[in-house]
Amino acid sequence: MAEKMDEETVAKVKGILLPWKGKRGNLIMALLRVQEALGYVPWEAMEIASVELNVPMARIYSVVTFYNYFKLKTPGKVVVMVCDGTACHIQGSPALVEAFEKQLGVKSGETTSDGLFYLQVVRCLGCCGLAPVVVVNGKTYRTVAGEDVAKIIAEWRAAMG
């Protein structure tokens, strides 16, 4: 399954976990930090967390599969978040989701076969006044229309070389 983690990454993970040792309510925080650093939460990182934070793997895994925020696989280099919260939905986000799915050839939660794009449909990005909203690697696109989708994809494809 997962590739063996190199020593440097193991040390990095341990470093991230260190300040959370022995703190109450540390598990989710520590895992979020690991994901921040590695882009996802690999199995081996969970094993390390299990030892370092003294939490059974069963709990870690059940937590990681419960919360939407956690990723178990490396996402693509470009994370496309399409908001389908109520405000965006009303303003036409379903069409955007469809357009992204069609043009990227993946469903929400999947990465394109070239590993470039990761598509994620999210519920509200907290800027509903600008609906519908798309956020790509942190860059916000407001009042996005169907025809913008191809442009956004092209822009990021170019940016990634």
Partner: protein, 583 residues
Amino acid sequence: MVKLKIDNMEIDVPAGTTILEAARRVKVDIPSLCYHRDLNPRAACGICVVKNKGKTLRSCCTAVEEGMDITTRDPELIETRRTILKLVLSNHPSECLTCIRNDNCELRRLAATFGLREVPFDDITPSLKDRPIDTSTDCIHIDSRKCILCGRCVEACQVMQKIHALTYLDRGIKSRVGVAGGLPLGDSPCVRCGQCTAHCPTGALTEEDHSEQVWALLQNPDNHMVVQIAPAVRVALGEEFGLPVGTLVTGKIYTALRNMGFKVVFDTNFGADMTIMEEATEFVKRFTNRICLPMVTSCCPAWVNYMEKYFPDMIPHFSTCKSPHQMVGVLAKTYYAQKAGIDPAKMKVISIMPCTAKKMEITLPDMKSSGYQDVDYVLTTRELARMIKQAGIEFTKLDDGVADSPLGEYSGAGTVFGYTGGVMIAALRTAHFLITGKEMAEEDLEIKPILGIDKGVKEMTMRIDGSEIRIAVAHGIGHIAEVLERVRAALAKGAEPPYHFVEVMTCPGGCVGGGGQPCEVTDEVRIARANGLRQDDKQSKKRCSHQNANIQKVYKDFLGAPNGEKAHHLLHTHYTARPLYKK
């Protein structure tokens, strides 16, 4: 005491009682599905809803309060329950006809009680197609399609046993019970104790059924069929035939087994006596020479597996003795085979056990000392009950039979193995004799401080001939870590170990509460079964293993001395450290 009204009946119950339990006292059985008296309520199904002054709440997990006015049935409540049950059924395969649990499934029973005649919602089970049955342990099967997510197994595995093999995965409609990483159970920390199977209300978690294989062996006349029954089986099997909990049915089981076609009926209790000879000898040796103390018992294979996974540093502390049924197995295929002039290749040994873990134990590499697999199949109490029914045997009407010689005779010490503290009691009876050369006084034979199930870890100091033996007895594997940590800490400091002798049984109550025993176990059931065994002990003419004449004979004719070379070769084993997860 708390005063309340249930369906207009006034009742006083102790504070902390749940509404559901309180209702049972006024003979109102509120339907429930996820609730199990043995476990913390998870409040998952919603079937048990009642109203308190119009407000709906769950009766299985809500404690009574002064002045409550509970309605357990009204049209709204009944409709709610019926709809919930219909929803459950819409997501459950209709496979009752071929389901291993069809004669005691709580879901099937509830559907029958509710008199549902149709499920008006879409059958959504096709979405469960991608959930293959997990058979990876060869002991426990998980058929996640039949799971109703009551959570009992997780509660049993994580909270009661503190193993954390089973857990919840995903959420919403995709929620399921499984192993971290979606791994097969066989690659998980699971110790095969089977507590999950004993608590599951449905056919989702079950023992691996070997009855077909055993029937096939029985039908082949070339096979010399040998069977043995474990101590705890004789006080539990009766429940499957409507007898009161704890009824001792040893003789009926012997007869039933013969009627099923077994040629030779031995008793694991003989093996228990043999184990005591070996283990008490080993203990006296290690105690007097202070070698690797504490010594811990090794007759529970789930416990062995636990230690190999969680505390591999404790391996040297294990007694090297095999478990009783393995001793009977190897002696059957060597000593008895020679004596009776039977080709061991044609001999098949079947063990009837309260235990699912024993199904794994028989396949371990060391369990082939006879040159063959010493025990061919393990059947749980539940499997035996089903086979007796299949054979059309009217169990309750059977006459008492007797076991065969030489591996059938047993002492009272052999039978007490089946409950927590029993192995220790049996061992101390013989250790006392080995150390002092004198028998224990009759009234001391039941060592009271280590009897009982109210404490997970029982401790005492025993004086034999001036030396003090510090003892701990743990049952329910969830309690053992604290004992081991204590030992670890003392050893790490180079201090005197806190104990000399430790008994561990993985299942709460010991094997009487085993994972292969009839379902719906509670503490009352465990106690009743244990009392059945105590009665068996008390009515035995000989109550110590070393007094068992056949044991002495086997040593004299065949094995030599306890812990001698031959005994070591046949009756002892080795342990291996194992990873928690294989990935």
